[in-house]
Amino acid sequence: MKTARIILWVTVAAAAIALGALYLRLHRAAEAPTQPAAQVSFGGPFTLVDSKGQPFASSRLAGRPYAIFFGFTHCPDVCPTTLARLTKLRRQLGSDTAFSIVFVTVDPERDGPAEVGSYAELFGSPVIGLTGSPDQIARVKKQYGIFSEKVGSGETYTVDHTATVLLFDKSGEFQSTISPDEGDAPALAKLRRLTNS
């Protein structure tokens, strides 16, 4: 009887500890920062290749805010969803010229000018599709703090990549980010701030 009671108390104590640990873990997960801090600087001048195969210098983006997103054209889900959302939010701001939307491939081996061009044309609203040599892309990825990694082999490989959209004001200064799992309302508020700055 006494043994049974001891076992029971030990079980209760173990359950309490487990619950406590679970709570702490969930709490920490909720608090973990997922966004780069605002004071971190991204961007800088670059030269890539546009959908006609011509050099595209970042100076052409000057004078207007821009949202830049890195992806690849074999990406059927998250990439078009992100670009469609950006064009939708831009329409909600009332003008296709409120800010530029830039799509840069992280898969230059498969995505030439034609590929990024037809991908960028899909959204019924101007999107600047850019590619480049593997070296050019690697440099721009570094400037913008973008991670990407090829997964799998053969022709059907996929590319894990940063799916956060980076926002720059009209003088090319980094402003903030939009994460794919962020709601439309906060994203729109950021874009409004960006275009009013």
């Binding site: 054209t73 059927p76 078009p80 969803t81 469609a84 960028a120 994460s179």
Partner: protein, 154 residues
């Protein structure tokens, strides 16, 4: 003889328990799945891959969506996930599949589990229609209509 008499009641108990266990198992045996699929759509394509989405409803016991087929290309189940701002896309292992909960639904939607279709014979344009066949671990295959939607968000 004495030992036999001692064993006999134990045997009876064991048989009775086995019978009880069997009847309990019969009672709690899950009902078969009752699957239907609706709201199938795909996005217009500007690249070589298409994504299609569908809602699978189940009014019976749990099942798994294990694979997909389409006449327009090579269809596979994939899942996108986000961790620390990085997007990952992985094929779903057909041995595990995607769970269709009992009396619940499995929703394939942008940013999560989806059907990826490669090897497209031609690009998908808004208004195009095609069929997708969903294969399950238990339920019979289901055909669902897919309508291609404009890529520009509404």
């Amino acid at each position: 003889m004495a030992s036999l008499r001692a064993i006999a009641p134990a045997m009876t108990t064991r048989i009775a328990m086995a019978a009880l266990a069997a009847s309990l198992a019969a009672c709690s045996a899950p009902a078969g799945p009752k699957i239907s699929a609706r709201d199938g759509w795909a996005r217009e394509t500007g690249g070589p891959m298409a994504a299609a989405y569908v809602t699978v409803e189940n009014q019976g016991g749990a099942d798994q969506l294990t694979s997909v087929r389409s006449s327009i290309g090579t269809a596979t189940l994939h899942e996108s996930s986000m961790a620390g701002g990085v997007m990952r896309m992985r094929p779903i292992d057909p041995r595990e599949g995607l769970v269709v909960p009992s009396n619940g639904k499995l929703v394939l939607a942008p940013g999560g589990a989806h059907v990826m279709i490669g090897g497209l014979k031609h690009s998908l344009r808004a208004g195009d229609r095609f069929k997708l066949t969903l294969l399950f671990a238990k339920a019979r295959p289901q055909k669902v209509d897919i309508t291609v939607q404009p890529a520009a968000g509404q």
